[in-house]
């Protein structure tokens, strides 16, 4: 717990930045796949 509190800023920064990037990329991939499926039908 003490380690978490002491390093919260660094851990939070890295985790929130990388997860946001990952979510954005997944969202773009999801939308592209959906559009491709719609155009094939």
């Amino acid at each position: 717990m003490a380690f978490f509190l002491k390093n919260f800023l660094v851990i939070g920064e890295v985790v929130s930045f990388t997860s946001t990037l990952a979510v954005c990329l997944l969202g773009i991939a999801f939308v592209k796949q959906k559009r491709r499926a719609e155009s094939n039908n």
Partner: protein, 135 residues
């Protein structure tokens, strides 16, 4: 782009993001010491108060998208994005509590960088949530 989406995003950007940042920026400008540099200004603007704003705005945006009744498609995308934004909102809330309590002594520049990342990521996801809420 859909005009309804553009309208909602622009309204949110002005009334949600810009107006809430005005008092914090004004307070930073007023308390800026003489001969202060850009780093001092950065440290004053990106303080814990901005995390309270980020928490409120992103929690509201995630509720908007999760309970959105618009459209029939993209339900999973909406709920997923809303839940992720809610998680980011809670990270901002925890950051606010830790910084505000003052139990841990953080470097001011490191704190400002962390606040900038928390604020930036929550605002970016909230913007996407607001756009998705109209789709």
């Amino acid at each position: 782009m859909n005009s309804k989406v553009t309208k909602r995003v622009l309204i949110w950007l002005f009334f949600g993001m810009i107006l809430t940042a005005v008092p914090i920026t004004a307070a930073a400008v007023m308390s800026l010491p003489k001969n202060a540099g850009i780093v001092d200004f950065f440290e004053l603007v990106f303080n814990q108060d901005l995390l309270a704003v980020a928490f409120t705005l992103s929690a509201a945006a995630s509720a908007d998208v999760i309970f959105s009744r618009e459209g029939k498609d993209g339900g999973l995308l909406k709920v997923g994005m809303g839940s992720f934004t809610m998680v980011l909102a809670f990270v901002s809330a925890i950051g606010y509590a830790i910084i505000k309590s003052g139990d841990e002594r953080f470097d001011p520049f490191q704190t400002a960088c962390a606040v900038a990342v928390f604020y930036g990521t929550s605002m970016a996801c909230s913007l996407v949530c607001e756009a998705l809420a109209e789709l």
